[in-house]
């Protein structure tokens, strides 16, 4: 039992075998492992992205909700303002209308008063004239005292 060329042959064979394994065994196994690693990495990345998307969506929905609330508040405020305005305008109009009606009534009353006065005046003059003529039937000449009577009428 001694060292001989067998050992050399085995060394050559071993080198070839290692080469074979590197080329035809190691490579596919590594490829499979690599693919597995890549799949897992992709899966994790996808999950991460999905989570991120979800977060974004949640943020976005909150934003939209907030905006909507703001808008609703604005609309309500606008509505209130508008209602107030309408009420104010109505009040104003009512006031103006009332004043107008009051003014009209006043004018009418004045006119009425004026007319009554006028009538009274004309009647007073004739009543006075009639009374006077009855009292002073003989002495008074209607014609002579008419300017005096007119003066009296004007004074009433």
């Amino acid at each position: 039992m001694n060292i001989n060329a067998t050992l050399l042959a085995q060394t050559i064979m071993f080198a070839l075998f290692v080469w074979f394994c590197m080329k035809f065994v190691w490579t596919p196994i590594m490829a499979a492992l690599d693919q597995r690693r890549k799949q897992i990495a992709d899966g994790l990345a996808d999950a991460e992205r999905a989570r991120h998307d979800l977060e974004l969506a949640a943020k976005r929905s909150a934003e939209i909700l907030r905006e909507a609330k703001e808008k609703v508040g604005e609309i309500v405020a606008n509505g209130e303002k508008r209602a107030n305005e309408i009420i104010e305008a109505a009040k104003e109009q009512a006031k103006v209308e009332g004043e107008r009606i009051i003014a009209g009534a006043k004018a009418e009353i004045e006119q009425e008063v004026f007319r009554a006065k006028e009538q009274l005046r004309t009647q007073v003059s004739s009543i006075a004239l009639a009374g006077a003529s009855k009292i002073l039937a003989r002495e008074i000449d209607a014609k002579a005292h008419s300017d005096l009577l007119d003066k009296l009428v004007a004074e009433i």
Binding site: I3, A5, M13
Partner: protein, 287 residues
């Protein structure tokens, strides 16, 4: 040439001899320096090479998996962790495929068996003269580097599995159920002796077939490596015939080694699968 044939026989013997530690003929304890000495040691002797190599390989495998487990992350696995996850997935799916019961021991057991047997078989791919010559040079007379070519190793594994089979048979069915299974079928209670023989053989065949299958395959593979290596040993002068032999030794052993990649993986896988199947049978009630 008689001396050459003598040396061929010696070469084969040398490669097939374990490094045995036991009681030498002169009464002291030590390492056997020939096959005859080793044989005379009887049962109470240790095959140091089998023992050390299987221990070493077991430690290496454990260390690798422990390292991967310790640095395991939930994120993208890389390198060792990726490989370990891959193997775990493969073995786990094998267990799930063949084992119908529920047992937390089975996954780790299958993993251990597969990788231990695989690593022991893997030593077969080392050029056979490397370790033997190296050991010879440092004063170790024999060194068989492939533990699974030693029936002690394969029977050790198989007996371990057999004990588990017995344990789970009794645990799942009770002693009565297990004995009933051995004696009361297939022919009912009147055929009890025949039943016992049939079922007994059935039971004993499990560890024996498990051990001998692995041993036989690996031993035969090793033997062929040795025979191929002998072709180069016929080197006696620069002739065309010798050169052809030399070249064909390289090519043949290369081919056999490449083929052996399949064999060693397959044998480890078969050992694992049969362990799972036997334990599955131990868990199941017979119908």
């Amino acid at each position: 040439m008689s001396s050459e044939s003598h040396s061929s026989a010696e070469y084969i013997k040398h490669h097939l001899q374990n490094l045995t530690y036991g009681k030498l003929p002169d009464g002291s304890w030590g390492i056997a320096h020939s096959a005859e000495e080793a044989k005379e040691m009887g049962f109470w002797a240790l095959n140091l090479d089998t023992f050390l190599m299987s221990l070493l390989l077991g430690i290496v495998i454990m260390f690798l998996f422990r390292r991967a487990a310790k640095s395991a992350t939930a994120g993208t696995p890389n390198g060792l962790q990726n490989f370990c996850e891959w193997s775990l997935e493969f073995i786990d799916s094998s267990v799930r495929g063949s084992f119908s019961g529920k047992n937390n021991l089975l996954g780790p057991l299958a993993l251990t068996i597969f990788f231990w047997v695989f690593s022991m078989n893997l030593m077969d791919l080392l050029p056979i003269d490397y370790t033997a010559q190296l050991m010879l040079h440092i004063g170790v007379p024999f060194f068989k580097v492939v533990p699974s070519t030693d029936p002690n190793a394969t029977f050790g594994l198989a007996i371990g599995v057999f004990i588990l089979v017995l344990y789970y048979s009794v645990k799942m069915k009770g002693i009565g159920g297990f004995l009933g299974e051995l004696t009361l079928q297939p022919f009912g209670k009147w055929g009890l002796p025949i039943n016992l023989v049939l079922e007994g053989v059935n039971l004993i065949a499990k560890p024996i077939s498990l051990a001998l299958r692995l041993f036989g395959n690996m031993y035969a593979g090793e033997m062929i490596f040795i025979l191929i290596a002998l072709m180069g040993g016929a080197w006696a002068g620069v002739t065309i015939g010798n050169a052809t032999l030399y070249g064909s030794q390289i090519l043949l052993s290369l081919g056999w080694a490449i083929f052996h990649i399949l064999i060693i993986t397959l044998q480890a896988f078969i050992f694992m699968t049969l362990t799972i199947v036997y334990l599955d049978m131990a868990h199941q009630e017979h119908h």
